[in-house]
C-alpha cells in the first residue's frame, strides 16, 4: 500500500479545523489535537515537513494562511503526497478563481468537500485534472426534475470523458478566433561571493501556454536548444545554423507531450489542454547571462559607523528595461540613523527586516546606478558580537529577455479543419533566489 492517505485536514494558523476528511478508519479521531499539540504549538513547526507522532506520520504544508495536513499510518510515498497537495490546491484555485486562503475555504467548503470526494477515494488519488472535474462538479449543480432535460445529454458524456483516452482535452471545442499564447518565464538563482565570483547559478524556466483552439489540434514547438537543433540538422542532413544554441540540463513535460516522439525526434509535439497550462519546465546551469551584477563594498568604520556602497550593473541590451527592481541591502540590527544618496530610484530603511530597500521602478539596460549610504549605529559597549552579514537580495523582472538565451524558433499548429491561428510569444526573466554575499 504505497500511497494511501488516511485523512486530510485543512487548518488555519490558530489550529482550527477548516475542513477535515477521514478516508480510512486506521487513524484515531484525535489526530488534529496531536498535530496541534506536537507540531503547531512547539518549535517543531517548520523544522521538518514530515513528522511522526505515535504510529502516524504527518505530512504538512503551509499555503498562505492555511496548513494542509495529510495523515498516513503506513509507509507512504512522500513525494506523491506533497505533489497531491500541490495539485489539489491548484485545482481549488481554479475553482475559486485565484486566491487560496482561509476565507476562500470557509466560503467554499461544500465545494471542497465535493472535490475531496472525487480526487481521492479511500486514500488513493483519483483524477485531479480541473478540465475534467469541471465537467461534472459545478457550483450550480441544481438539477430539478423539470429543468434537467437539456443537461441530461452532457452528464453521461462527461463521465465517459472523465476516464477517457485524451484525459486533458474534451472534444468539440469551438473558438471564433484561434489563438495561442506562449510565455517563457525564467527565474535566475544566483549565489555570488563577496569577491564577485559566481558560486552557483542556475536558471529554472517554464513554458506557460494559453490555448484557445478549436477541435483537436496538434502542436509542434521548436526551440533553439542544442539537442533539438542537432537532431534536426541530422534529419535534414544539412549543417546546423550558426548562432547560439542552448544546452538544457534537464526537461520535464506536461503529460500532454508525446515523450516517445521527444526521445526519438527531439521535437516537442502535443495536443494541448484547453486554456492555461504549463507545457514544460527546464533547468540550465551552463552559459547563463546574469541580467545584473552587484558590486557591494561595506565597511565597518569603528564601532558606530558602517559605510555602504553598492553599484548595480545591468548587463542586458540597452533598449530593454527591467521592471520592479528591488535591492535589499542588509544593515546591522542596532542601526540608529541612515543617510543615503542614489543616482536613480528611491531608498528606504526598513527596520523590520534590517535592510536598506532600494527600489528602481524602471531600470534601463547597460546602466550602472550606485547607492552610497552611511549608517550610524547605537553604540553598545556590552555587546561585542560582530555583525554577521546576510547576503544582499535582489528582485526584478526583465521582459523580452531570457537569462538562458532560449528562444522559440517556431510554433506550428495543425488541425484537420486547417484554420489559421495567431501565436503570441513573450519572454520574461525574474529573480529566483538572487543573493550576493557582502
Amino acid at each position: 500500500m504505497p500511497v494511501s492517505a488516511s485523512a486530510i485536514y485543512f487548518l488555519n494558523l490558530r489550529g482550527d479545523v477548516l475542513i477535515n476528511r477521514l478516508y480510512r478508519d486506521d487513524v484515531g479521531g484525535n489526530m488534529v489535537d496531536a498535530f496541534r499539540l506536537h507540531i503547531m504549538q512547539t518549535k517543531e513547526l517548520g523544522s521538518c515537513p514530515v513528522r511522526q507522532i505515535g504510529g502516524c506520520s504527518f505530512l504538512y504544508m503551509r499555503i498562505s494562511n492555511v496548513y494542509i495536513v495529510i495523515v498516513v499510518s503506513t509507509n507512504a510515498n512522500v513525494a506523491s503526497a506533497f505533489k497531491f497537495v500541490v495539485e489539489a490546491v491548484a485545482l481549488f484555485k481554479s475553482y475559486f478563481g485565484g486566491a487560496f486562503d482561509e476565507d476562500a475555504i470557509r466560503n467554499n467548503f461544500v465545494l471542497i468537500y465535493e472535490l475531496l470526494d472525487e480526487i481521492m477515494d479511500f486514500g488513493y488519488p483519483q483524477n485531479l485534472s480541473p478540465e475534467m472535474l469541471k465537467l461534472y462538479i459545478t457550483q450550480q449543480g441544481v438539477r430539478s426534475p423539470f429543468s434537467s432535460k437539456p443537461k441530461e445529454k452532457i452528464v453521461p458524456n462527461a463521465t465517459l470523458q472523465v476516464t477517457g483516452a485524451v484525459g486533458w482535452r474534451r472534444e468539440g471545442l469551438v473558438y471564433k478566433k484561434n489563438e495561442v499564447f506562449l510565455d517563457i518565464v525564467e527565474s535566475v538563482n544566483l549565489l555570488m561571493s563577496s569577491k564577485g565570483s559566481v558560486l552557483s547559478c542556475d536558471v529554472t524556466g517554464k513554458i506557460l501556454m494559453k490555448c484557445f483552439l478549436s477541435g483537436m489540434p496538434d502542436l509542434k514547438l521548436g526551440l533553439n536548444d542544442k539537442i533539438g537543433l542537432e537532431k534536426e540538422s541530422q534529419l535534414k542532413s544539412r549543417p546546423a545554423k550558426s548562432g547560439k544554441t542552448i544546452e538544457l540540463d534537464d526537461v520535464t513535460f506536461h503529460q500532454c507531450v508525446n515523450l516517445t516522439r521527444f526521445n526519438t525526434e527531439k521535437t516537442v509535439s502535443f495536443v494541448p489542454p484547453d486554456g492555461e497550462f504549463e507545457l514544460m519546465k527546464y533547468r540550465i546551469t551552463e552559459g547563463v547571462n546574469l541580467p545584473f551584477r552587484v558590486l557591494p563594498t561595506i565597511k565597518e568604520l569603528g564601532q558606530a559607523r558602517v559605510e555602504v556602497n553598492v553599484k548595480v550593473k545591468s548587463a542586458f541590451g540597452a533598449k530593454m528595461f527591467a521592471l520592479g527592481v528591488v535591492i535589499k541591502i542588509p544593515v546591522p540590527k542596532q542601526t540608529a540613523k541612515t543617510s543615503f544618496q542614489v543616482t536613480s530610484g528611491r531608498v528606504k530603511y526598513n527596520a523590520a527586516i534590517n535592510c536598506l530597500v532600494w527600489k528602481i521602478r524602471k531600470f534601463p539596460g547597460q546602466t550602472e546606478p550606485t547607492l552610497s549610504a552611511e549608517v550610524e549605529l547605537i553604540s553598545t559597549i556590552s555587546e561585542k558580537k560582530s555583525w554577521t552579514r546576510p547576503p544582499i537580495q535582489m528582485e526584478f523582472q526583465v521582459p523580452m529577455f531570457t537569462a538562458s538565451g532560449l528562444r522559440v524558433r517556431f510554433l506550428k499548429v495543425w488541425e484537420k479543419s486547417g484554420y489559421n491561428t495567431v501565436e503570441w510569444v513573450r519572454y520574461i526573466t525574474k529573480a529566483g533566489s538572487y543573493e550576493i554575499r557582502c
Binding site: 504505497p2 500511497v3 482550527d16 510515498n77 465535493e114 483524477n127 463521465t159 465517459l160 534537464d250 561585542k384
Partner: protein, 839 residues
C-alpha cells in the same frame, strides 16, 4: 470528518446546543414541503449542518430529519447529505439503516453520476451489520456500463473488505476485480482494481495460501507487461503505483531489463516528482546485480533528480532531497562534481539546508574539498545558530574522512578565533575528535586551544572536550595544571556529571605528566569526587584513589597508557539497515532514515530495540550469536539509564577484554545507535558520538598477549565449507594470536563498485568457504572480520580486512592457529576477494 466526541468546542466556537435544535425544527418544516425554492433553503440548512460538523459540534441528533429531507433530485443536496450520513452512520448504526433505502434506490438511478455517488456513500457507511445490503449494489456496480460507477465500485470492494473481510471474499469480489483489471477499457478502473487487489491480497496472504499465490501472480510476467504496455494511459498517481509494483518484479534475463528500462526512460522527464522517483527506484532495483549498468543508471538519474530538487515548494524538494541524500550516501563519488547544487541559499528552510550540508560532507574529495570547506566556513559565520553548528560539524566530518587535512585544521582553528560562544563550543568538540585521529596535529591545535579561556565555555560537551585536551596534552600546555585547578575549584557549580568525570580523568593524566604541579589539585579533585552525589563520579574517584594507593605506576598504565590513533569512527547505522532503507526507496523510510518496520510495527514504536539489527550483523553464526547479542542488548539497556557519554566505556568493560576484538565494531554500532535512537526523541539527531574518555579502553589493553602454540604443518590447504565459530571465541583468539600475514592488495574497480551491496560480498566470500563474522563502516572505508577453518582440522584462520573504496585497496591482517599455512590461506583469500565483482 470529525467524529462527534472529538473535542470540546473552544470558546471562540459556539457550543452548538441552541443552534442544533434550531436547525432541527427548520429541517422538520422543510421535510414535507414541495414548494418551489425549497431546495435552496434546504441547501443553506445543509451547509449549516456541515459547517457545525466540521468544527466539531455533534449534530448527530438531526440524523433522522436529514434523512427525511434527502428525498431530492438536487445533486449538490444529495452530496451534502451523503457526506453527513457517511460521517455519523458509524456511531448511529440503527439510524444508518434508514439511509440504506434511499441509497439503494439511488444506486439504480439512470444518471451514472448519482449511481456512483450513492455506491460510494453506501461503502463508506462502515457499519458491519449492514454489509448484506452492500453486496448486491457492489456486484452490479462492478458490471455497470459507466466507467465512473465501475471506478467507484472497484475501490468500494476494498472498503467492504475492511468492514468484513469474509463477506468480501465469499462474494468472490477479488476474482471479479482481477477480471476487470485485466479486461476493462477504462484506465482508472484498472488502476483502482490494482489498488484494491494489492491491498486485499497483501492482508489476506497472512491467512490464505491462495491469496499469497494470487499476490505472486500480480508480479507475473503477463500482468507486469500488461501494465507496462499501457502505462501512458494511466494518470500520474496510478503510474506511481504501477512503477512501484514493477520494481518488485524480477526479470529473468538482462534483455528484459533493458527492454523495461528503454520503455520507461521517458518517465524520468515527467513533471511529477513522485513518478521520477518511482522510475529511479525501479531502475536501481532492476540493475542491482549488474554493476556497470547500475553505475550508468546513477549517471542517468542525476540530472532529473537535481531538477526535481530545484522545482516546487520547499516541502517537495525536501522529499526529493531525502532520496538524493540516500543515493549520495551510497555513491558519493558519482555526485562529487555536482557539489555546487548542494550550496545553501539564505532563505531555504533549515530542514533543506541540513540535508544539503550532509551531502556536501559526503561528496567532498581531493578535487572539491577546498571549495566545499570555503563554502561551509561562510555558513559557520551565519546568524542562524543551528545552521552554524551544523556547518562546523560538517567541516569536522570532512576533516575526519580526508587524508589531507592541513588546510581544514587551519580553518577550524580560525573558528576558535571568531569568539562566538556557539562556534567555539562546537569547534572544540571537533578539534578533540581530530586529535584522536591525527595526533600529529596536536602541536598546532594546542597552541590555539591554549588561548581559550575556560570561563567562556558553558556547554558541557565543549567543556568536556577542552578538559580532555588539557589532560591529554598537559606537557604541551604551560598552564594546564592551573587551568584544571581553577576548574576544580568550581566543582560545586558544575552541574554536568560528564564534565566532572572528564575533570577527574584529566587531572589524573596531568598528574602523571607533571606531578609536582598537580599533586594539590589531584588531592582536591579526588576528595570532591568521592564526596560527589553522582554514582559514576563517586565510583571513578574512589577507583582512582585506590589504584593510586595500590601502585602509582600501575595506575599510570591504566589511566594514561600510550594510545593508538583512531582509524575509523564507529558508524551509526549498520549496512543491513541501510540496504533495507534502499529497498524501500520512495517512501517515508527514506525521510525518517529507518526501515518501515521501525515506525509502522507497533512493537517498534517508542524506544526502539535494536537486537534484531545486531542479530543480522553477523552472518554464518546463528544461534550463539543471537543469544550473545540479546544478552548484550540487555546489558546495554541498563546502560541507557546511565549518562550517555559514559556509555561506551561501560559497555566495553562489561564485555570483558574486547578491545580490538572483532565484535567491538559491531557492538559499538549497536551501542551508538541505541544512544542515538534515545536521543532522537529528545533533540535533533547528533552526529555519531565516539567514546570520550580513554580510561575504559585503557583498562582493557592490559590483556596479556599469549604466544600461540605451534601446530603441526598441513601440506595442502582445504577449507571447511561450514565452519562454526562464535563471536566470543573469535574475540579471544584474535586477542591471543599474532598477526602472521599483513599486506595490502588492490581490488578491481568493479569489485569496489559492487561494494554498495555489502551482503553480496559476504555471500561471495561464503562461496569460497570464508565466513564473515562482523562487518561495518561507511564509504569509503569498510571493515570486515572473516574466518575460515581447515577441513578436517580445527585450526582456524582469522582475517581483518579494511577496504578503501576510493583507492581500491584492501588491507589484510591474517592470524592463524597454524602459522605455517597462513601464507597459503592468504593466497586463497586474495583470489577470492579479487574475483568479487567480476563474476
Amino acid at each position: 470528518m470529525a467524529p462527534p466526541y472529538q473535542r470540546s468546542p473552544s470558546p471562540s466556537q459556539p457550543s452548538g446546543k441552541g443552534e442544533v435544535s434550531d436547525v432541527k425544527s427548520q429541517l422538520r418544516q422543510l421535510a414535507g414541503s414541495r414548494a418551489p425554492g425549497t431546495d435552496d433553503s434546504k441547501r443553506d440548512l445543509f451547509k449549516k449542518v456541515l459547517s457545525y460538523m466540521t468544527v466539531g459540534i455533534d449534530v448527530s441528533s438531526v440524523f433522522s430529519d436529514m434523512v427525511m429531507c434527502s428525498a431530492t433530485s438536487d445533486i449538490v443536496l444529495k452530496k451534502m447529505c451523503y457526506l453527513y450520513v457517511g460521517n455519523y452512520a458509524k456511531y448511529n448504526p440503527d439510524l444508518a439503516l434508514l439511509t440504506i433505502n434511499f441509497l439503494q434506490r439511488d444506486c439504480k438511478d439512470e444518471d451514472p453520476m448519482i449511481r456512483g455517488l450513492a455506491l460510494r456513500s453506501l461503502c463508506t457507511l462502515r457499519v458491519p451489520n449492514l454489509v448484506e445490503y452492500l453486496v448486491g449494489p457492489l456486484g452490479s456496480g462492478l458490471k455497470d456500463k459507466s466507467g465512473y460507477v465501475r471506478m467507484v465500485a472497484s475501490i468500494g470492494v476494498v472498503k467492504l473488505y475492511h468492514i468484513s473481510a469474509s463477506t468480501c471474499v465469499d462474494a468472490d469480489f477479488p476474482a471479479m476485480l482481477k477480471h476487470l483489471m485485466l479486461h476493462d477499457q477504462d484506465a482508472q478502473v484498472v488502476a483502482n482494481c490494482l489498488f484494491s487487489l494489492q491491498e486485499i491480497w497483501t492482508l489476506e496472504a497472512n491467512t490464505s495460501e491462495e491469496a499469497s499465490s494470487e499476490r505472486e501472480a500480480l508480479l507475473s510476467k503477463p500482468v507486469i507487461y500488461y501494465f507496462l504496455n499501457r502505462i501512458k494511459d494511466f494518470n500520474e498517481w496510478a503510474q506511481c503505483i504501477i512503477l512501484e509494483m514493477v520494481s518488485k518484479y524480477v526479470p529473468p534475463d538482462s534483455n528484459e531489463i533493458f527492454d523495461i528500462m528503454n520503455l520507461l526512460e521517458d518517465r524520468l522527464q515527467h513533471a511529477n516528482g513522485a513518478i521520477v522517483l518511482a522510475t529511479i527506484k525501479l531502475f536501481l532495483q532492476l540493475t542491482l546485480d549488474m554493476t556497470d549498468v547500475h553505475q550508468q543508471v546513477y549517471e542517468r538519474i542525476k540530472a532529473p533528480l537535481l531538477t526535481q530538487v530545484s522545482l516546487g515548494s520547499p516541502e517537495q524538494s525536501f522529499a526529493v532531497l531525502s532520496h538524493l541524500h540516500l543515493l549520495v550516501m551510497r555513491a558519493p563519488m558519482l555526485f562529487s562534481t555536482a557539489y555546487k547544487h548542494f550550496y545553501c541559499h539564505y532563505n531555504e528552510p533549515f530542514y533543506v539546508k541540513k540535508l544539503k550540508l550532509e551531502m556536501l560532507t559526503a561528496v567532498a574529495n581531493e578535487s572539491n574539498t577546498y571549495e566545499i570547506v570555503t563554502e561551509l566556513c561562510e555558513y559557520a559565520a551565519n546568524v542562524d545558530i543551528p545552521m552554524a553548528r551544523e556547518s562546523i560539524r560538517a567541516v569536522g566530518k570532512i576533516a575526519l574522512q580526508q587524508y589531507d587535512v592541513n588546510a581544514i585544521v587551519d580553518r577550524l582553528l580560525q573558528f576558535l578565533e571568531m569568539e562566538k560562544d556557539h562556534v567555539t563550543a562546537e569547534t572544540l568538540v571537533l578539534v578533540k575528535d581530530l586529535l584522536r585521529k591525527y595526533p600529529q596535529w596536536s602541536h598546532d591545535c594546542i597552541a590555539v586551544v591554549g588561548n581559550i579561556s575556560s570561563k567562556n565555555i558553558q556547554e558541557p560537551k565543549a567543556k568536556a572536550a577542552l578538559i580532555w585536551m588539557l589532560g591529554e596534552y598537559a606537557q604541551d600546555m604551560q598552564d594546564a595544571p592551573y587551568v584544571l585547578e581553577s576548574l576544580v575549584e568550581k566543582w560545586e557549580d558544575e552541574c554536568s556529571a560528564e564534565v566532572r568525570l572528564h575533570l577527574l580523568t584529566s587531572v589524573m593524566k596531568c598528574f602523571f605528566r607533571r606531578p609536582p604541579e598537580t599533586q594539590q589539585v589531584l588531592r582536591a579533585v579526588l576528595a570532591a569526587g568521592i564526596a560527589d552525589f553522582h554514582q559514576d563520579v563517586h565510583d571513578r574517584a574512589l577507583f582512582y584513589y585506590r589504584l593510586l594507593q595500590h601502585n602509582v605506576s600501575v595506575a599510570e598504565g591504566v589511566v594514561n597508557p600510550p594510545k593508538q590513533a583512531v582509524s575509523v569512527f564507529a558508524d551509526t547505522q549498520s549496512s543491513e539497515i541501510k540496504d533495507r532503507i534502499f529497498d524501500e526507496f520512495n517512501s517515508l523510510s527514506v525521510v525518517y532514515k529507518k526501515p518501515s518496520y521501525m515506525f509502522t510495527d507497533k512493537e517498534y514504536r517508542g524506544p526502539f530495540a535494536f537486537s534484531e539489527e545486531f542479530g543480522n550483523m553477523s552472518i554464518g553464526v546463528e544461534s550463539e550469536e543471537t543469544a550473545a547479542s540479546s544478552q548484550r542488548v540487555e546489558a546495554s539497556d541498563k546502560e541507557l539509564l546511565l549518562n550517555t557519554s559514559e556509555k561506551e566505556d561501560k559497555v566495553l568493560s562489561n564485555n570483558g577484554p574486547a578491545y580490538s576484538a572483532p565484535a567491538y565494531d559491531g557492538y559499538l554500532d549497536t551501542a551508538a545507535s541505541q544512544v542515538q535512537s534515545d536521543l532522537v526523541s529528545l533533540e535533533p539527531p547528533l552526529p555519531s558520538h565516539p567514546p570520550k574518555t580513554s580510561s575504559g579502553i585503557d583498562l582493557l589493553s592490559l590483556g596479556l598477549s599469549i604466544k600461540p602454540t605451534p601446530a603441526p604443518t598441513a601440506p595442502t590447504l582445504k577449507l571447511n565449507a561450514k565452519p562454526v565459530l562464535d563471536p566470543n571465541t573469535f574475540q579471544q583468539k584474535w586477542r591471543q594470536l599474532q598477526v602472521s600475514v599483513s599486506q595490502e592488495i588492490s581490488i578491481s574497480p568493479q569489485g569496489v563498485a559492487a561494494l554498495a551491496n555489502l551482503q553480496s560480498l559476504l555471500r561471495h566470500m561464503q562461496g569460497h568457504s570464508i565466513q564473515c563474522i562482523a562487518s561495518g563502516g561507511q564509504s569509503p572505508n569498510y571493515k570486515f572480520f572473516f574466518f575460515a577453518q581447515k577441513s578436517e582440522e580445527s585450526s582456524l584462520f582469522l582475517v581483518e580486512c579494511i577496504i578503501n573504496s576510493l583507492t581500491c585497496k584492501a588491507q589484510l591482517k591474517i592470524k592463524a592457529d597454524d602459522e605455517s599455512s597462513s601464507q597459503a590461506f592468504s593466497t586463497v583469500f586474495q583470489s577470492a576477494l579479487s574475483s568479487y565483482g567480476t563474476s
